[in-house]
């Protein structure tokens, strides 16, 4: 069983830190083996969300108890929700606190029961209404971008015809594959449409490389949806993801067709 002590230093002689979220280290002690490790607390910087980062660290290290001077109620709530016991009001050396914990001196009568109850997920009416409100709020911030994407899809469907797309393929294997990836990136809608267009392209003599690139980018790259993706996941993530997916579509198309030819030989 492991416990975490918020500490001002990286060893057992360090002092127990006043605040869990912004302590310099979390000293993780394995009570069975006596082995300890001082992990720098990502929340030490004190920036927004510091307490949450410390919670994530404690959860990841699979500790059963957190020992500290003080722990804010939201952070305490998060720790308890993850089954971690929180003991506060502690001071002195880390070593001393660990010894007291081992002897059971830190546990107050009935505290286990209190912790156990707080760990249980309470799904009452208030929680449910709050969850619906939160979801509606999260949803509403993205809805305008989604509506914009839907309107843009209507424009594409109407003003860009399938015939004009097919006429662009020239018979050049490399160029056609690139065009396939480009069209798949721009066009949007049900993937069945990509199969239908792909089938049509094959019927018109376009290579399977180009068709495969189109099918892949149809679902992995979305230029039309890009504004909505940026709004949801950030500009850097959205641009990087779409760029890499576009580039990847070419080798995947090549590999797919080459392997298929080997299998069908």
């Amino acid at each position: 069983m492991k416990i975490a002590i918020a500490a001002d230093g990286a060893d057992l002689q360090s002092r127990v830190a006043n605040r869990f979220g912004t302590s310099q280290y979390l000293v993780i002690v394995d009570l069975e083996t006596g082995y300890f490790e001082a992990v720098p607390n990502p929340g030490f910087s004190g920036q927004r969300g510091a307490g949450m980062q410390a919670v994530v660290l404690a959860v990841r290290e699979d500790v059963k108890s957190v020992l500290t001077g003080y722990c804010s109620p939201p952070v305490r709530g998060q720790l308890m929700a993850n089954g971690i016991e929180v003991l506060t009001g502690l001071g002195g050396r880390v070593q001393e606190v660990v010894e007291k914990y081992k002897r059971g001196d830190l546990l107050k009568p009935g505290e286990d029961e209190v912790n156990r109850r707080s760990r249980e997920i309470k799904i009452d009416r208030v929680t449910f209404v709050q969850a619906v409100k939160s979801s509606a709020s999260q949803f509403s911030t993205l809805l305008p971008a989604v509506v914009g994407v839907i309107l843009l899809i209507g424009l594409f469907n109407t003003f860009v015809s399938k015939e004009s797309l097919i006429s662009i393929f020239s018979g050049n294997l490399g160029l056609d594959t690139l065009w396939g990836a480009c069209f798949g990136s721009v066009l949007a809608g049900n993937p069945i449409n990509s199969y239908v267009i792909g089938g049509e392209l094959l019927r018109h003599g376009v290579s399977l490389f180009a068709v495969t690139a189109l099918i892949i980018t149809w679902v992995t790259v979305g230029l039309v949806q890009l504004p909505a993706e940026i709004a949801a996941l950030g500009r850097r993530f959205a641009l990087l993801r779409n760029t890499i997916c576009f580039i990847l579509s070419i080798p995947i198309a090549i590999f797919t067709v080459v392997i298929l030819n080997l299998v069908m030989r």
Binding site: M52, V55, V56, V59, R60, Q78, L79, N82, I121, I123, F128, A131, V132, S134, S135, A136, S137, Q138, F139, T141, L142, P144, A145, V146, G148, L151, I153, G154, L155, N157, T158, F159, A188, G189, P191, Y195, V196, G199, L208, I216, V219, T220, G222, P227, E229, A231, A232, L233, R236, L240, R241, I244, C245, L248, I252, F255, I259, L260, V263, M264
Partner: protein, 173 residues
């Protein structure tokens, strides 16, 4: 929890409506130049909207359930940085079984991101949406099962490397 995240991530209203306003302006021009085609485009958008109502409702229900039973720290543990093979498998499976257009899932992905999900699981989820189990019979009808099997296997394999790459490039590793 989600409520506390809400205020710090709120964007100015002008920025939120900029994109749809721009598209509406294009519609305005289209109506001036070619009213018939612009009307057809609007009808087409209406059809798209009705097809995504069901997936959007599903996403909303999933979000409510997550808001009730899943804590941010649990999201960080299963889908956060260093979530390991469990996180990869979970996000790949979720991507494969998720239905409807991707933009219906953006609100959920945004919520997961705000509550600690890493870049790799989100990237893997998005990439695995390329695998559509319900559409496989249609795809097989068009291209044959060997082609579909190879493309599906490559997609799932590449998604893992892609997720890792996104994580490295975004500075998580």
């Amino acid at each position: 929890m989600a409520g506390s995240q809400k205020s710090k991530n709120r964007k100015p209203l002008t920025r939120i409506v900029l994109f749809p306003a721009f598209i509406l302006a294009i519609y305005g021009i289209a109506f001036a130049i070619s009213p018939d085609k612009a009307f057809t485009a609007l009808m087409s958008s209406g059809n798209v909207f009705f097809t995504i109502v069901k997936p959007l409702a599903l996403v909303f229900v999933v979000m409510v359930i997550l808001n009730v039973v899943v804590k941010p720290a649990q999201i960080a543990r299963f889908l956060g940085k260093g979530a390991g093979i469990k996180g990869i498998t979970l996000s790949a499976a979720a991507g494969i079984i998720s239905m409807g257009p991707i933009y219906a899932w953006y609100p959920l992905l945004k919520k997961l991101r705000e509550e600690g999900a890493g870049n790799a699981p989100i990237a893997i989820f998005l990439y695995n949406r390329a695998v559509k189990p319900f559409l496989l019979p249609v795809m097989i009808a068009y291209f044959g099962w060997p082609y579909v099997a190879i493309l599906t296997a490559l997609t799932v394999l590449v998604s893992m490397a892609f997720g890792y790459s996104m994580s490295v490039i975004m500075g998580e590793e």
